[in-house]
Homo-oligomer: 381 residues x 2
Amino acid sequence: MKQLILGLAATLMMTAAHAEPTATGDLGLVIERAKGSVLLVDQSDRAALARIEGLGDLSHASLVYSPDERFAYVFGRDGGLTKVDIVTRQIESRVVQAGNAIGGAISDDGKLVAVSNYEPGGVRVFDADTLEMVADIPTGSKTIGLVDAPGRRFVFTMWDTGETWIADFANGSPEITKIPDMGKNPYDALITANGRTYITGLFGEDGLTALDLWDETPEPIRVLPDYGRGQEEMPVYKMPHLEGWALTGREFVLPAVGHPQVLWIDADTLIETGRTQTHGQPVFAMARPDGRQVWVNFAHPLNDTIQVIDSVTKEIIHEFKPGPAVLHMEFTPRGHEVWISVRDANKVMVYDTRTFEKLREIEADSPSGIFFTARAHRTGL
Amino acid sequence: MKQLILGLAATLMMTAAHAEPTATGDLGLVIERAKGSVLLVDQSDRAALARIEGLGDLSHASLVYSPDERFAYVFGRDGGLTKVDIVTRQIESRVVQAGNAIGGAISDDGKLVAVSNYEPGGVRVFDADTLEMVADIPTGSKTIGLVDAPGRRFVFTMWDTGETWIADFANGSPEITKIPDMGKNPYDALITANGRTYITGLFGEDGLTALDLWDETPEPIRVLPDYGRGQEEMPVYKMPHLEGWALTGREFVLPAVGHPQVLWIDADTLIETGRTQTHGQPVFAMARPDGRQVWVNFAHPLNDTIQVIDSVTKEIIHEFKPGPAVLHMEFTPRGHEVWISVRDANKVMVYDTRTFEKLREIEADSPSGIFFTARAHRTGL
């Protein structure tokens, strides 16, 4: 273990001089939430390569990648937007673009990076090369659920007004389409991998709301109108992440809000097809890339556990306890392994998804989100 | 134009010395079928970077990428297996592993490369690092339709005997499962992106045959038993490529054999849902990554044309003539652009998939297959 740490320290010292030929297809970054750093990792070697520091408040951070899988755009809670070069292992540039931010997205051509902000509420769009602001879209509301959609578009939703806006940058300056009546207090949203369906979760009422972005004039579609946390007044320990929704064949898997369940929904009709009782309130329900398994982690105080569900039988086939505070999971792109952040063990753990065997432990400082570079090639991540 | 060629020559001379930091996420290789070379290209810059020569007979070649998107394994018609390093822009190693080969695949963990051979008939499996042979699986038949499946498996089919075999390398040496009665003279096969459904096209009888690889004991499932080239004795100018089947939402798009049509098939029930009349006999019917459009090219003598079909209306929305002998198409991973090989124009052409505007022409010598590195992260490509 000591050797591993010394090895890492040696690697870190070499960082500035790193210039040997590198391929970036199997690399990734792990958010170290307490330190404001990211840890560069290698999937094939199951190893940490370098630590890059100075990214500000990463207590609720996410990131996207440039199409060449060289640059990561890291969105910090403090409004910081940091461009990290994973080849030279250095920060390329950094701006603090707002007071309080909640995530970002990159356009399908890789030219525009958008950030959604609580304070001041709205979306700001930056040139991916220079980080110069190219558009400021104030919304008069906390803005959530920002995703990229095909055709140089961004889609995002307003907590206060319940509107979803589509900003189309195909012709340079944005054309905005506003869709009202998405529901009361949308708190998060996702877009399906094909960029067609946008779904918002609601905090202020039961159910969810979907949009068909292939429709010329998308209209709100109510989903599971009788399901949610609203009427039952269940305590909600942690809001589930909608980005964690899984698509397995024809069904979505949705972490229920306030209930120890995941819900199965037909991806076309948006009608419920089943429920699976789980160990606790789910946070992420992530499908292995082939869709055969769904891995679920849970809210505090049951956040030491993972359950694995078979997507055909909808039954739990495996349960284990990686350690205290399991915050995130990321599958290798073809799904043979999964990396898991165990924050309070200060470790990222790597498992075989077929045998469930633990293959490696990697030291990391309060790790949270894990982001592999293969995300560069996908919509809505 | 002359400047472009001189620029390329200068780049080529620099090849051996290339060692600056490189990211590989937006690179690709174009097969130059007449010269036995591959052209390294950059999607973001829409440019050729270097030519790598000495790969043997590439008249019917394909390739797969290592998980780090650094190495390409190129499968030549002459049985050559060449490992190309796209970072240093050199051939790393090369073996001639059989007399006549027909394609290959790479295991989900990136450790094994498999090649299917006509002569001698069978599959040979190589260590992806060293290209040492680790398994020889004679089949007593011309062997086609080789794909990788999750769980370190390869699936392939025998032209002469109509069997499909699954070779499972999870425990080192292969365990073989044999499935007879797939049909008469299977000529090609595909696996769906989730690795669940394997489908063979038949030359000796009408229809196709599917396997559900999630089944404990997969059984042949007949698909479109009344459709095909068999009974109608239509002339077939070129067999369509099953790898070109497109999945758009819930439907596959299948290039018909011997008919100027594409067929739409429900991905779950495998029942036909529609037909679209096309300009000629389709060769590839490829879905844009979001599934909204299907691009189709055609067999000789109508191979100067492309038609674009809307996957909702199933109607042709655009038709154009890139030039003589359109052989292949490859979309950027998020679908905003498409690259097209026009063999007899000695050009690769790049188009915007929304406006259909031509964005660039790139010189290439008799270009055929185009392979972007994002394929590294997908099953069955």
